[in-house]
């Protein structure tokens, strides 16, 4: 669980995924990924920005 600050300004409660827990640090650049949680429903999550 983490707050991610979007470039547009707001902070949103979300999950950081596809990133080892030990590698998650405050200030780390992340990018959005959409995860399907139901038919026709996807929610935004974030992963470490790939170089």
């Amino acid at each position: 669980m983490a707050y991610v600050e979007l470039d547009e300004g707001p902070r949103i409660l979300t999950n950081v995924v596809n990133t080892p827990a030990d590698a998650v640090t405050i200030g780390m650049p992340v990018e959005v990924v959409f995860e399907d949680i139901d038919e026709g429903l996807a929610i935004p999550k974030f992963q470490r920005t790939r170089a």
Binding site: M1, V4, G27, M28, V32
Partner: protein
């Protein structure tokens, strides 16, 4: 109109149980009511106000039924764990307004015997914002852990410093016969306990127990005839902090608003406060609350709590009953903050009694820091007409300045503070010089990516604001 000195807490009772599978919350409340009324020298027939929270959908009605009461003032305000601190203020307002004369504030819970998951539960109650959060699987402890992580990142606060709070609180519990845990613990013990949600270890977290308690609040006039020394309500305020529609600052807690308001009503400053009863759902809760109440600056909490400074015989006595960390925590522990404050003001705290206790500050936190939480501050005093050390010290300071102390003019406030100390040796307990304030790592914005929250500018204690509290 102010609540200051209009009412008093004249009866308190902490139910001794910590595990009671044979009792219902209503039975715990009834037994507690009997205890507090006896403590006050009053009878159930004197009660015409009733406050509770945390039982049933409209449990206050069932409670009135259970006690066979027909009160003229009912309050089931639920702010989470801080509710009962707020109830004292609400009852005081009702008494001042003539809605009732004597109110019972009751709490009972069997969270432990029901195996109710408080901290590891999601804290999703079905309120509208939960829909945007529950999908990410938040937990209560996770919210507090996020704040702790942020504090460590921003100010270099260490796990050892957080552990200090647990260690001191356990020491207090060892002096409280009713407390659940008595064996002393060390910082190493805290760090060696398992991680519940990084960086919070098991011993950074409050327990889940059964329990309950009761308070009797009555008018100042009536309090004069009470059996024991009244604890007068000098000031009170409530506040809420939430995500602010995308502007969450996880290190700002509601105390930043309710604290100064309650202290202004009471007409006191920090150095007037002899005892702090601070909700300790987690060690980080105490640290953040102390900072936001203004006992130290934001970021200095780690140094402030270190070296046993919060001990009952230390410079800043805090949570002398052993707190939720070591005495009891049936889910909403606000009522115990008030009970211990009253005992200390009366001089009834036994081997954990602080030397001199004239003014106590209670601050309850309810809900989840990092998401939505309430804060309720209550200031109690042993005297109804607390003139305060502030006034005297100011007067003294101006005298000193007139005769010329050789200090620069801009140091006025520090002169008045030191003059206050000089007059009253006991207040040297407030002296606090932070050793180091390691402010570090500012994050940089990167184009084309989102990033974790950046630290906002250092906080200042500010008056309550209307409307949005958004700093972007």
């Amino acid at each position: 109109v102010s609540l200051r000195g209009k009412s008093a807490v004249v009866g308190v009772y902490e139910h001794p149980t910590r595990y009671a599978p044979h009792l219902t919350p209503y039975q715990i409340m009834a037994e507690s009511a009997r205890g507090a009324l006896e403590d006050a020298g009053l009878s159930i027939g004197d009660v015409d106000g009733l406050c509770t929270a945390g039982v049933g959908p409209i449990g206050v009605l069932a409670l009135a039924n259970h006690l066979n009461l027909r009160p003229s003032y009912l309050d089931s305000t639920n702010l989470g764990g801080s509710s009962f601190v707020a109830h004292v203020a609400h009852a005081s307002a009702a008494i001042a307004a003539g809605l009732c004369n004597t109110a019972l504030v009751l709490y009972g819970s069997t969270a432990a015997s029901e195996r109710f998951a408080v901290g590891t539960g999601g804290g999703a109650l079905g309120d509208p914002p939960d829909a945007f959060e529950a999908i990410y699987g938040p937990t209560v402890v996770g919210g507090y852990a996020m704040a702790a992580m942020r504090h460590m990142h921003e100010y270099g606060t260490s796990a050892e410093q957080l552990a200090e709070i647990a260690v001191t609180t356990r020491r207090h519990a060892s002096l409280n016969p009713a407390a659940k845990y008595h064996d002393p613990i060390t910082i190493e013990d805290v760090l060696a306990s398992r991680l519940v949600s990084a960086p919070l270890h098991l011993l950074d977290c409050c327990m889940i127990s059964d329990g309950g308690g009761a308070l009797v609040v009555t008018s100042a006039e009536r309090a004069r005839d009470s059996k024991k020394k009244p604890a007068y309500v000098l000031g009170a305020a409530e506040a809420v902090r939430h995500t602010g529609i995308g502007c969450e600052d996880v290190l700002e807690v509601a105390a930043v608003q309710s604290g100064p308001m309650a202290m202004a009503m009471a007409g006191i400053s920090h150095r007037d406060i002899d005892l702090r009863m601070i909700y300790d759902s987690f060690t980080i809760t105490v640290l953040l609350t102390l900072e936001n109440l203004g006992f130290c600056k934001r970021g200095e909490g780690g140094a402030f709590v270190s070296g046993g400074r919060l001990a009952f015989d230390g410079p800043c006595p805090t949570n002398t009953d052993g707190g939720g960390l070591s005495s009891n925590h049936p889910g909403m522990r606000g009522i115990f903050l008030v009970i211990e404050a009253v005992k200390q003001l009366r001089g009834e705290a036994g081997s954990r009694q602080i030397k001199k206790c004239s003014v106590a500050l209670c601050h309850g936190t309810g809900g989840v820091i990092s998401r939505r939480h309430s804060g309720a501050t209550l200031i109690l005093g042993g005297s109804r007409c607390w003139t305060g050390r502030t006034t005297r010290s100011r007067f003294h300071a101006s005298t000193r300045r007139t005769v010329g102390s050789g200090r620069p003019a801009r140091a006025t406030s520090s002169i008045s503070r030191s003059a206050g100390r000089a007059r009253r040796p006991a207040s040297t307990r407030e002296r606090f010089v932070p050793r180091a304030s390691p402010r570090r790592r500012t994050t940089s914005a990167r184009a084309g990516t989102a990033r974790f929250t950046r630290s906002p500018s250092p906080i200042r204690i500010r008056p309550p604001v209307s409307g949005m509290n958004c700093r972007t």
